[in-house]
Every structure is written in C-alpha cells, then in structure tokens.
Symmetry: C2
C-alpha cells in the first residue's frame, strides 16, 4: 500500500546547470537552474525552465540565446551562489572571480573555468505556469581536453557533474556505474 | 582553449524514468525514457520526450495520461529492458514478473513493486523534432513507507534512483551529498 504525498515536485533527480546570458548593456550573467534536461535528439535540444521574475528570463527573451555551463563538484559553492543571488543586483562574475567568454555561435557568454559548455539558440518558448520553458537547440558542445576520454567524449568521472535532489534540497555527486545501456536488459 | 565537440546530446546527466501507459484494449505497458525532467513548480509539472515511433507515444496521445515509475538500483536490468523492447510486440509486465496497478487518478497504470510513483495528466504537447514533449501535471506522488524519511519525504539514499549518462551510454548511482542548497553558497 503506497502513501499519497500530494502534488509536489519531489522527483529524483535533476541536473545542476549554470545558465549564461547577457543582460542590458552586455552585462554577462549566470544563474543556476535545476529545472532542465534533454527534450529532443534531432535537432539536439535541451531546455531550462525559469520564473519570469529572474534576470535571466528577460535576458533570454531579449537575445533568444543562452549557454549551459556544467559545474564540476569543486564548483558546488559557486553553483549554489548563482542560484540564490540575482544578476539584477550583483555582478556574479566579479563576486566569484570567474571569467566570462563571449560565445562565437550564440549571443551569450560562457564560463571559461567550467570544463563543459553547451551553446544554445532558443527555438521554442513554452508557457506552463510559474515557470516558462526555453527550448534551446544545441549548436555546439565545447569541452576542455582534461575531461575528454579516448573517444573525444566527456568522461563523466572527469566532468564530475552535480545533481539536485528536490525532496532533500541537497546537491549530490554522480555515483559509480551500474552498467551499460542497451545491453544489461538483454539478460531478461 | 576548449575543443568543439559538435552539436550533440552529450549532457550529464538525465534521469531514468519508466513511463506507464495503457495501450489498446487496456494493455498496460511501460517504457524507459531518459529525456525527462521537471519543467514547472506551480502547477508541479514534469515532461517526458518520446519518439512518434514508440508504442507509448500513441498511448499517451489517446489517453492524455501517464505515470512515472522511479526504478531503484536493483531494477537497472528491468529499466534497460523496458527501453530496448517495444510494447507493440511484447507484454513487458509478463516478461519481468512485475505487477501493473491501475491509478485511481489518471488513466494509466503504475508498477506495484517500484517504490516511488508520479501520476500525471498531460496538459501540453510540444512538437520539437524527432521527439515530442509531453508535459504532465503531477496530480499525486505515491511512495512506499520504506523509502520515506522522518519528514514523510522520499529519502534519496533509500529510493536509490538511477541516472543516465548520454555521453557514456551508462547507468549510474546517485553519489554522496555535496551539501545543502540555499546554504553553502552564502560563504561567497
């Protein structure tokens, strides 16, 4: 017999993505979004869902572009900071000593020090409720050589991304492998 | 200097969610989706993105409802199996010995043996490309007492959900906590 917990966002797990945008007068900004994910393989698309009240919401509406910067575990503190402060009042790059770099593909900045970056052009905006979903086509993925494996793909044990657990309000590491997909299910 | 990896879905990380639906003549089915996430807090909404070719796509189009069943680590093999087989040809419940239960809130079945379940009513359908995004409002979250903590919330160390790493085509555990949100960033 299952217990009813009500209509609530207590879902394991979501990513911790740092969204890069330009504000007015080209001020670079970053905010952390936990409502994000992959929504299409072809064209390759991801989304981030944002509240209208955020600085980033207005920035994306204006420029129809954003980057997603994947924080590694060592940047957990910065990722949290980017989520609890607003670019309306603060220069988050100055506060953290991180470096904005202008993307050559989209009208948005990325964080130089972060190892894995997605450059996205907004192709759809979906009004849902408190949050608006921005669907972005990935124009390029950029990575530092230090996080790539022999196939030139990001190695999750080197990227060390962060997870968000909404029910516990906690950040988590990615744990060890449970097996390869399209493979272990063949035993059934 | 970052390396360009091209326009590709090599994003850490996505959840591993098992989507429950009814097919024609009420046949219960489940499929695994890795393109899923939270897209709104109010109303609480999640989405799954599916290819039109899947059995589940037609089922959701017909009944405008689905459940999300969170597999624990012990069900990694079943989760993979649900992703590599089609309900058009196979009775996946019979093949795995799992038990479908009719949701009382939405026109979809859930898996009795899985500890955490979301019951969703489709409120928006977004055509993107190869994948169609089904946005579902969470009408209820149901859980077994065995995975709840003292606050009556799902404890991630008991739920033991699975992650998907698209770049490595691998399943992963959720690792240990890196800290509490809205807290550790205050040190900056």
């Amino acid at each position: 017999m299952k217990k009813s917990l009500g209509a609530n966002i207590i879902v394991p797990t979501t990513p911790v993505w740092v969204v890069g945008t330009y504000g007015q007068e080209g001020k670079p900004n970053v905010m952390t979004a936990a409502w994000g994910g992959v929504c299409c393989s072809k064209p390759p698309c991801i989304y981030v869902s944002l509240r209208k009240a955020t600085y980033t919401y207005g920035n994306i509406m204006e420029r129809k572009a954003f980057t997603v910067n994947i924080p590694s575990e060592t940047y957990t503190k910065e990722a949290d900071y980017f989520g609890i402060t607003s670019g309306k009042a603060i220069d988050k790059f100055a506060a953290t000593g991180l470096t904005p770099v202008k993307s050559e593909l989209v009208n948005a900045p990325y964080i130089k020090e972060f190892h894995l970056i997605l450059e996205c052009k907004v192709i759809k905006i979906v009004e849902i409720g408190l949050h608006t979903e921005f669907i972005g086509e990935i124009l390029d993925v950029k990575a530092d050589s230090s996080v790539l494996n022999e196939k030139n793909l990001p190695d999750i044990e080197k990227v060390k991304p962060i997870l968000w657990n909404p029910a516990g309000m906690s950040y988590h590491k990615v744990g060890k492998s449970l097996g390869q997909a399209f493979s272990i299910g063949k035993e059934i």
